[in-house]
Symmetry: C2
Subunit: 380 residues, 2 copies
DNA sequence: ACGGCTTCGTGAATCGTTTCATCGCCGGAA
DNA sequence: TTCCGGCGATGAAACGATTCACGAAGCCGT
């Protein structure tokens, strides 16, 4: 680790630190705690009331039920609000209302474009309801996950969308006692979890990919996988096997390379192993686009043509799948829709009609996006 | 837009909707507002106090200044806290304390791995201070940016890290009146903004890239740029020109292709235009890795060898730069450090020692990461 | 025995908002 | 004139925590 090369430009400027904002000229303010310190006092509903010559209740009404306050008063109050730059305090509202206007989204890996899409979907749904989203990253660490969950509990978040780190759901089970609703995203818990979940049908996804390769005339496939204890990897494998059976081929027609991780480096390793296999495979299905990109890199470096000598299919359809040197055929996960659906479920569960809510497990269907990397007769 | 194919599994289960949690057997609770409704009442500090037979003040002390309460009492209270699963309400604390424990981070594009790294850096710094991070995405839209900024004002967040959408800083100027500190990330505002900022020296970055290509023996470069009204694109261009001058070459040795956007599709277009240029260029520097990946794709499709016939350098060193078929030489932005530095500045500005805070403009230095795409004699 | 000190705990005030019972006022009906 | 209804506005009571000025013991020394 090199020391960071940092260029500092101090710029003292006008020394704007934080200034006291007094009660204003002519305002006979009898508070004992004057704003003597360095901290500026926020303008509150009381300031507006005083300045407009009405009671705080009236100001509150102007904001929340403008129709029930006289036209004349309303405009006057609104003018003062604008003039003073009053912004209501969400904390105080929350305290009084008993429910917050924030939902939390805890993902496994913020750098993964897939989760970025999930987040966008959730964000959209939330914003339509006027809710804020707090996006956090557990980075696959159970400890961080636990930390964040207790942060959410302290915040009395309206609800949580979470991709649990461990399928056992230990942290979530602990979290349950807070009575904060949550929706599990992109996973279905093993245990008898009673909550909602939204996930994608990985078995179908696996068979979409395999079926496509078989349709291109290949009679034998290789599945490049991550750890098989992940349900994702297992299910996609299952789907591929199913596709073989459909085509009347034995399960032995599917060879498997299992790596430790689901990233590009693991893909490179797998690519090297592919090249060493005899007979050399002609069709490869990867559990993940990152793996596929790694494989592609290894094949390219070895001068093996894709799809000419080896056809390649990935999974996830991340943005960079289309950006690869040979655009990558991939199974697209409806990430945006998943986030959206999860947030909608949560909103329903925590909304007015919560009484009518029944927990659901929504399973979305993936779709195959065919690009150059898998088709027998390369375009152009 | 096709209708989403959704498979619904309703699973009525045990109809766990939300249950009332009564005051518990033996607890003579005389509140008027019983939990008659469907909504479960959160256990508060008062419940703990009653159950433990102490006053609320004492419970508060157990939590916040455990050393000043007698051993015996403390353990008793702690036991009750654990038993009841009490979690303090951050809203109430915030209301009383006047300052929240959340900082906001507003980025241009969550799907961009660069910002994901910035976010990680900020998150790390925040968590070390026990602060929560609220990550939001303005998606380059000034309207969304404004929405989020007012959300932050309502939340009375401790401070904001923001990558402004427009350099004019209109929204930020409006935001200033709330007296919420902010740090500008990855941009320096044109106007006389008094706040802190953290950015990367793009001029240096541009000249690093160009110098490297010149060192490989090229005497003429093409700069594939996005819109030149973006300071990023301009500065990198400036840096490249400086490198040419250093090498004693005229500015005409740098041709420029300017696209509308900074994405892969724009890169593909640029790649096509590159192939039509005469004389055909031998060295290309892209304002962005996405552009470079697009160029790479176009060149690959046309059968042009990289770096054999054309050397290519990108900018940002996103994760996928290394994952490209020909690993991409790129100028790495210290994204993580940038997020970290920005959050540190904000924490300093809003912390105990805020009085000693002076606004700073930190400029971090980029570094060149050399990979296969630019070196004259390809590895392997 | 009594003042003074330390050690622990108490209870009320406070933060900024929403909500709700209440009140003043005006016009119309009896 | 009196009474009533309705419209608008009011003020106080929550919400859940923190803080702080006090008070109640217990202990010591003189």
């Amino acid at each position: 680790m090199v020391a960071p090369r940092v260029v500092l430009s101090p710029r003292p400027r006008s020394g704007c630190v934080a200034w006291a904002r007094g009660p204003g000229p002519g305002a006979a303010d009898s508070r004992k705690r004057e704003t003597v310190g360095l901290v500026a006092r926020m303008v509150g509903i009381k300031d507006v009331a005083r300045q407009a010559g009405v009671s705080v209740g009236t100001v509150s009404n102007v904001i929340n039920r403008p129709e029930m306050v006289a036209e004349e008063t309303r405009t006057r109050v609104q003018a003062v609000i604008a003039q003073l730059g009053y912004v209501r305090s969400e904390s105080a509202r929350h305290l009084r209302a008993g429910r917050s206007r924030i939902i939390a989204l805890l993902v496994l890996d913020m750098a993964n474009p897939f989760f970025a899409d999930v987040a966008s979907g959730a964000e959209r749904a939330a914003r339509e309801e006027g809710l804020g989203v707090m996006l956090c990253n557990s980075a696959q660490s159970p400890a961080e996950e636990a930390d964040y969950l207790s942060l959410f509990a302290e915040q009395r978040v309206r609800g949580v969308l979470v991709t649990p780190v461990d399928t056992s759901g230990r942290n979530l089970a602990d979290f349950r006692r807070h009575d904060i609703p949550y929706v599990v995203v992109d996973r279905v818990l093993d245990s008898a979890d009673e909550g909602c979940s939204v996930s994608v049908d990985d078995v179908t996804g696996g068979s979409l990919a395999a079926r496509h390769l078989l349709a291109q005339g290949h009679r034998e496939l290789v599945y490049v996988s991550g750890p098989m204890h992940l349900s994702q990897c297992r299910d996609r494998h299952t789907g591929a096997l199913a596709a073989l059976s459909e085509a009347g081929l034995p399960h032995t027609a599917l060879r498997r390379i299992e790596g430790e991780r689901l990233d590009v480096a693991a893909g490179r390793d797998a690519g090297a192993r592919l090249l060493g296999m005899t007979p050399r495979p002609t069709a490869v299905f990867c559990a993940n686009d990152l793996l596929a990109l790694g494989v592609l890199q290894a094949l390219f470096a070895a001068g093996v043509s894709v799809p000419g000598e080896i056809a390649l299919v990935g999974y996830d359809d991340i943005e960079f799948a289309a950006a690869a040197a040979v655009p990558l055929t991939s199974v697209r996960q409806p990430a945006f829709r998943m986030g959206r659906a999860a947030a909608d479920l949560l909103i329903e569960e925590t909304g007015e009609a919560a009484a009518g809510h029944r927990h659901q497990r929504i399973v979305l269907q993936p779709e195959l996006v065919v690009r150059d990397s898998s088709i027998s007769a390369p375009r152009h």
